[in-house]
Symmetry: C2
Subunit: 412 residues, 2 copies
């Protein structure tokens, strides 16, 4: 029998009524002939409440104890989920991460999965039980409870799907799937039927929140078909899978805008080997997440070194840059704290010309000045004035026809 993994997020299981709604989806899959493994997150805002409880006692709690505390949220959900299924007449059994030997390293609060013992799960599936596993958590070799950090439950689900060779991993959330762009800004955004792992990775790193980057990367590495769906309806969602030939015809799959960005430029840095490394080592030590890096030569001896960061990291990054400035021979540090980053993503870029031209043209037509440009193999990002962020996203979406399903767009 084929195995289906279904993951339900915190909003989807926030109360009894919603748990029952999710349980009905599980039962439907059972009736469709699947052996079902459910992965569930903590209910609603429970994790936040536990974090608040912890901070009341300790501003900087030991991470091991934090994991011991937070893992209870998912444990409660899975027990309640099993009870709901029992009440509906279905045999179900819940497990913590430890009980299914979700073995991780010991990096508490951001542990990485090393292995899963799928045997215990298979045994219960073969007894016609629905198996419910607590997401977000595992155990290290000494049976200390660990948690996987942000997006951890998605990662648990995809990892279980890989270990169990599941046919698909359904990720239930509160939206219908992955959209071409943020529908709150561009109302005509459409849901994608499918998207490649690489595109989803780019979109996730650009802040498109539907799925966490680690789970997508896991899915790519272990070849897990991921289906992002809405727990509130029965609509087909978006399938994240390997690139298929027809995807190449789609030049741009999605567009994003990140509004709260800043750009720091170190002007006139000595252009000698190792200077960039020194700067970014210092920033890494200060735990600043760097988005894009741009270096431009001013003369054979001097260069400008810029990088984009999120506004909450600005003060820390600024301090680090000022501290290392003299060591790099830098003349001055220039800050722009009013930047937004608009990006387009698509695997089709690999084989199509004219994408950059179309993007810059759309921005120009909308009278939006481009501060700087960065690209990857399947992405183009432009830094622009924050005040023009939404206008820019809309212009780009219209240019790339992101209001139409992929197959209906013109093939430039």
């Amino acid at each position: 029998m084929a195995i289906l993994v279904q993951k339900f997020g915190g909003t989807s299981v926030a109360n009894a009524e919603r748990i029952r709604r999710c349980a009905k989806k599980v039962i439907k899959a059972v009736k469709d002939g699947y052996q079902v493994v459910v992965v569930a997150s903590a209910r609603g805002h429970q994790t936040d409440e536990l974090i608040a409880d912890a901070r009341e006692l300790n501003k900087n709690p030991p991470t091991r104890e934090m994991d011991q505390l937070l893992s209870t949220g998912e444990q409660q959900t899975v027990a309640l989920f099993a009870m709901a299924l029992h009440a509906m007449g279905y045999e179900a059994i819940s497990f913590t991460g430890g009980q299914v030997k979700m073995l991780t390293d010991s990096a508490h609060t951001k542990a990485r999965i090393k292995s899963i013992d799928a045997d215990r799960i298979r045994k219960h599936l073969d007894q016609s039980k629905i198996v419910i596993v607590a997401g977000f958590q595992g155990v290290d070799e000494n049976e200390n409870i660990t948690t996987l950090g942000r997006g951890g439950s998605d990662t648990s689900a995809v990892a279980l799907a890989a270990a169990l060779k599941a046919k698909e991993c359904e990720i239930y959330t509160d939206v219908d799937g992955v959209y071409t762009t943020d529908p709150r800004i561009f109302k005509k955004a459409v849901k994608m039927q499918q998207i490649s792992y690489d595109e989803m990775l780019e979109l996730a790193s650009l802040g498109a929140g539907v799925m966490h980057i680690r789970a997508v990367a896991f899915g790519k590495n272990y070849n897990v078909r991921i289906h992002v769906r809405n727990s509130a309806n029965d609509n087909e969602g978006t399938v994240i899978t390997h690139e298929v030939p027809k995807m190449e015809g789609v030049v741009v799959s999605g567009a994003t805008v990140q509004k709260d960005m800043a750009k720091i430029t170190l002007v006139g840095v000595d252009n000698v080997p190792g200077n960039a490394a020194k700067l970014f080592a210092r920033l890494a030590k200060a735990k600043v997440v760097i988005h894009d890096i741009i270096q431009t030569e001013l003369s054979p001896k001097k260069a400008n070194l810029s990088f984009m960061i999120a506004i909450p990291d600005l003060d820390t990054a600024k301090e680090a840059a000022e501290n290392i400035k003299d060591e790099l021979g830098c003349e001055s540090v220039f800050i722009r704290d009013d930047v937004a980053l608009v990006s387009v993503v698509g695997v089709g870029m690999r084989t199509h010309y004219g994408v950059a031209e179309k993007m810059f043209g759309a921005l120009a037509k909308a009278k939006i000045n481009i501060d700087s440009i960065t690209t990857s193999e399947i992405r183009i990002s432009c830094a622009i004035d924050r005040k023009q962020a939404e206008k820019a996203l809309k212009a780009v979406c219209v240019a790339f026809e992101l209001d139409k399903p992929a197959i209906q767009r013109s093939k430039t």
Copy 2:
């Protein structure tokens, strides 16, 4: 180094401020030179809230899932307790029942402890850490989480004290210790300095709520010195220990009254072997808890068979009695649902005469009629009219001088 086990109940750890207060008691013990193991219950009303969450989804939830759910309450407390100690500058590590291999049978919601692996705890104690263990919970041989039922955290604490050969097991609660009687009824009740396991077992079975009967029995069997104390102050509490010679001088240690009792009498039962067994087997099957049994012969062929039960069990017991009536040749079933049971307990009764006489005398003087009398080796109980319950308790307390410390009482 001597080991001290300190157990804190749900009220004592209900919020951050109270957890810190408990943590200070732990630190004091560390400063006094002890290696300390803390056992903690779920915070405040959390267990009740989780039970309500479960019932919302399933009126009769599977017990395995109930344990999976409820065990999270204690797990949260121990993690928070460890964080509090860290914030105060002390190394601490928390464990679930499973992590310290608190092995139980598989009787979910009322599991019995089979063994404890004390090695992991000792290892951390020897690294100068304070060890915090979740009470109330264990795991069975298949790593299913189990809970120990009512009074489970007390039992966990006493079991850990036994396994670790602790010097003492402190049970912190919201009262100063064990009182000679209920101070809400007899205001002059005094706290006992010490009490024997057997007396405490009798008092616990008579509804004196301070400690659960299972924990006391465990303490008796494994020779654990138990110290019942108040988490809100530093007063010495009551030590529960083996009988010491001076205890014999105390004729009556404590008195209790159980107000919501009923008495069922089967009138004129055929006095043949096996009839009583049949009746009580039927009652056990109906899960009725029997308090006292009184049989009196009416004639060589007929007897009256009475038993005391708590009011909540009355309907079930009545139905069972009516159903089996004819089979026992019983003429009629007589119910008294207005009974209270006043009892005195003391190991001194074994060696002293006149206790019964003094009790009956005190009741007579207060013009209280005695419906029936039952005794054990260290207890005398009288069933009386419920309306006279408090008056009866007071009369008995005055007669046995339960307003004075044991050593000041006259040795009748």
